[in-house]
């Protein structure tokens, strides 16, 4: 498992190197392979992904579903912020609420927190185990279950399909 993780990390690091340098000159390829190998040997075992799941096409299908949903929410969030910034009276009713998540792995929770931060009116300020504290620019409900439904939207289900 550790070796598989290191190899995945090495492949990923080398891929990023190829994209960033965008050249196939031998010197560049060798330097990239060596640097990626060093990074993989140092950080590879901390890779928060399961190598067996990394090549599962069903999970990649859900990644493809996740991307447009995420893009739509980001644009909605920006229109929401733009309207609030431009409205003369500043329509704010902020507060910090807590919600629970059913996601178990760290990487899935990280992505959930990031998605929440980029969606309309919400900002993740703290995670403790399965509790997420959210700064909400317009608190519509203080009930944890109802707030969770409103804030998490479609993300939790999608991330569960991708990571768990």
């Amino acid at each position: 498992m550790k070796a598989a993780k290191t190899i995945c990390y090495w492949l990923g690091g080398f891929g990023v190197w190829l994209l960033l340098t965008w050249s196939l000159a031998p010197a560049s390829l060798i330097a990239g392979a060596v640097v990626a190998l060093v990074a993989a040997l140092v950080f590879g075992r901390d890779l928060p992904l399961n190598p067996l799941r990394l090549f599962n096409p069903v999970r990649w299908f859900w990644v493809l579903v996740y991307i447009p949903v995420f893009g739509y929410m980001v644009i909605k969030a920006n229109i929401d912020v733009a309207l609030r910034v431009l409205s003369p009276g500043l329509q704010l009713k902020p507060g910090i609420v807590k919600i629970r998540t059913t996601l178990k792995s760290d990487i899935a929770r990280t992505f959930l927190a990031n998605s929440i931060t980029l969606t309309p009116g919400t900002l993740t300020v703290e995670i403790k185990d399965d509790l997420l504290y959210i700064h909400w620019i317009e608190v519509r409900t203080e009930d944890a279950a109802e707030a969770g439904r409103l804030i998490k939207g479609p993300f939790e289900k999608l991330l569960a399909r991708i990571f768990e």
Partner: protein, 121 residues
């Protein structure tokens, strides 16, 4: 044609960045400002980078722009989370219009919501 669309993305991105800065000035406390800054700046910067990608195509510059979009999307929310979490634990005040602060309630500390003394009167 793609160049024109690229310019549309760049101008749109700049507009969203500008709105983010306006929010930074107009919103009342750190946490609300962080919201405006994170969301608008993420989309604005990604828009500018995507415009660059459209204008240069699959070249060294265009691909770098795409990779940077990915890094920005992953790292900006993490940075704003770290800043707001640190501020909250350090006790930076919430705006007086804040209706609930479950974090401080759960931690059992004193309320850090502004009382409005000294500013209004």
């Amino acid at each position: 044609m793609t160049e024109t669309i690229g310019w549309v993305f760049i101008i749109g991105g700049v507009a969203f960045n500008l709105l983010g800065c306006l929010g930074l000035v107009r919103f009342p406390d750190l946490y609300n400002r962080m919201q405006a800054a994170t969301k608008s700046v993420t989309l604005g910067t990604c828009g500018i980078l995507f415009g660059i990608f459209l204008m240069t195509g699959f070249s060294a510059i265009g691909i770098k722009a795409l990779v940077v979009i990915l890094f920005v999307l992953i790292n900006l929310p993490v940075a704003s989370h770290a800043l707001s979490r640190g501020s909250l634990q350090f006790g930076v005040k919430l705006w007086r219009g804040t209706i609930r602060d479950m974090f401080t309630e759960d931690r059992g500390g004193r309320s850090i919501i502004e009382t409005g003394e000294g500013e209004e009167k």
